[in-house]
Amino acid sequence: MIAEIGAFAMALALALSIAQGLMGLIASRRDSRAEATAATAQATAVLCVLAFICLIIVFVRSDFSVATVTANSHIDKPLIYKIAGAWGNHEGSMLLWCLVSAVFGAILATARGQQSVGLWSRAVGVQGLVTAGALIYTLFLSNPFARLDPAPMQGSGLNPLLQDPALAAHPPLLYLGYVGLSVPFSLALAALLEGKADQAWARALRPWTLLAWTCLTLGIALGSYWAYYELGWGGWWFWDPVENASFMPWLVAAALVHSAIVTERRGSLASWTILLAIMGFGLALLGTFLVRSGVLTSVHAFAVDPQRGIAVLVLLGIALGAGFGLYAWRAPKLSQPTGFAAVSRESMLVWNNFGLAVAAAVVLIGTLYPLLVEALGGGLISVGPPFFNATVAPLLAVLFLILPLGPMLTWRIGDLKGALKKLAPAAALALVTLIVALVLTSWRAVPAIGLALGVWLIAGGLIYLWTRIQRGEGRMAAKLALLPLAVWSMSVAHIGAGVLTIGAVAETGFRVEQSVGLTPGEGVAFAGRRVTLIEVGETEGPNYSATRANFRVDSASGAHTISAERRFYPTSPMPTTEVGILSSLDGDIYIALGESVRSEAGAWSVRLYYNPLVHLIFLGAAMMGLGGGLSLVSLARRRKMAA
């Protein structure tokens, strides 16, 4: 019964979202009609919420007459993972997509701000069509409420690798980011239809781009963190097609966050901002297609279905066709940009956008190249980390080289000499880092340059913060209190990029790994420490049994015990690895337990990793996310003050 209510709510939501689309697009000039559109958007959202609640209920009640529950749940699963299981599968995650799109549509309809009626109602209309597209796909190609007859007594359980708190939050965050990009897309199309993209429009756009970017940042970081401690491969980023699928929209969203600032503050770059908004959503849909269609071999695997892939491709074609078509037709009519000098805040933001867009294009080429070669009959190939490291890293290096300059320059015409003079200490510090790193690593240029760039970003960000603090009056506390939140948010995000850079470079450049076979009591010298296998035993968890190995790590700071496990879930034929991690200030000792060695009685194969400064990667990403969040708060405050 619950499942039928859910399916019915979805069908009703589909009808309403189509109505929302048509009403928003056709009857855009009249206030009363626009309000009716807004009410429809709210009703669509309520129905999607209802459908999603129904899905959670059937998961919590383990209703195995519903196919999705049978395929992805199990009676013995802890409650939290029963709930998370609702969106931890293809069908449920698509319903989540619809839900987020509908709720964003309702928020867009409720928060009109200073937008003109036409622009506002058209944006709500386009968002309605986006929701309708997602609902059509979900209802007809991946209905989460499809019934099984007869119902089995037990489900097949959620893949044990996915029973993890970080991974319960990872898909919703990514979806908030992906679907968050649909709102800038709707606003961009509305602006093209209206033939107007002014500063009020950019003001409405900014929070959505920030929200999408922040959620993508946190979602990707959580996924990377999960891969690091759960997969047991010692790495945190593999340039896998599925990772690239989220990285490309992230790059474009980052560009959009910055170009929208220029459009809001100066009125220029409007048509570029619109183009980015269209591309951002296009890449988000492409990401969904790559993940769901299985056209690319990935270290991640999802249940794949070619028919679904083609349907996503059709939706992508419609969205991009409408977007680019409207752009080609209407963008030339948009007002001409106001000028700015080659050295100015605007020009630096143009460089930022240029660098990020080129990086996104390179990742796109690398990701799609295997498909192209195969289509042309060139055989099956893969493009791996060496390609992406060799292309994306230099581009980001150029971008990071100019990043600290941007905030130091004023709008319209900037003072390059003055900015460079202020940044001189940061440059000196970076230079010292470069030389010291070169000497210590016996002239390994790549990691040394990377570390120097990280230091340059952090020191440059701190100098900017300091110059802004100095501008205030009175005592230090008063100066700090007067500092606008926008300054904090920008500094935290930029310094976070530097912290992440240092972590990524250190981990990639100086990681140590070693495979050994150990018998209990046996030790091995590793990365300046001594790792000893103490014992190996069997243990029982709530819904699994495990082989657990205890290790002692002796270092200069004392002895620590850590344990690593191989878990066997009765619901899954595959064992999973629980790595043992010993974190210290300089990095992680990371131990993964393998199988018993057949040629040597009582010995176990063990893989040891030393991942220097790896925590800085996740700290940096968290800082970038925090910067995005602070910026959102600052925008909300400003809007409240303006109202």
Partner: protein, 148 residues
């Protein structure tokens, strides 16, 4: 002032062009050098050059998995027509199993075991790497029900 504005614009366009050229050169050089071809065991002799980085895919032959001391692992990979021994130092992925699909990335020398640097098995136990499925279908060894 008007002339200077034009000069500035030219400089910006030139710099942007330089970055684009850099990106294009890096991309094409990268695609030439770091693309990895997928090869089935029976194609090793004809398709792969000695020492070239390739992806070897097929089914892990039952009963051939052997763990040596110091983390060295041996197993055989087959596409039904030929069998190749793979040597790998490290931990096999959790989803690695005898009789199932696997992709090993590494280098091969005639007369020696395939030296794998990376072994990929899939998160999903019902999933078969697409390259493996294609290779098995070419050999007529495909037993799956649906075409991936």
């Amino acid at each position: 002032m008007a002339v200077r504005r034009r000069d500035q614009r030219l400089m910006m366009i030139a710099a942007a062009g330089a970055v684009l050229v850099l990106a294009a050169v890096l991309t094409f050089a990268g695609l030439r050098d770091s693309v990895v071809f997928f090869v089935a065991p029976s194609e090793l002799a004809t398709k792969a050059e000695a020492g070239q980085r390739i992806r070897l895919g097929g089914l892990v032959v039952e009963g051939t998995l052997r763990h040596e001391a110091d983390g060295v692992v041996f197993f055989n990979v087959t596409d039904g027509a030929a069998e190749v021994q793979v040597r790998y130092v490290g931990l096999l992925p959790d989803l690695f199993r005898e009789g199932q699909g696997v992709v090993a990335e590494g280098r091969w020398q005639p007369g020696a075991a395939f030296e794998a640097e990376r072994v990929l098995a899939k998160h999903d136990e019902t999933y078969m790497p697409r390259e493996v499925a294609e290779a098995l279908k070419d050999r007529g060894e495909w037993r799956g029900t649906e075409t991936p």
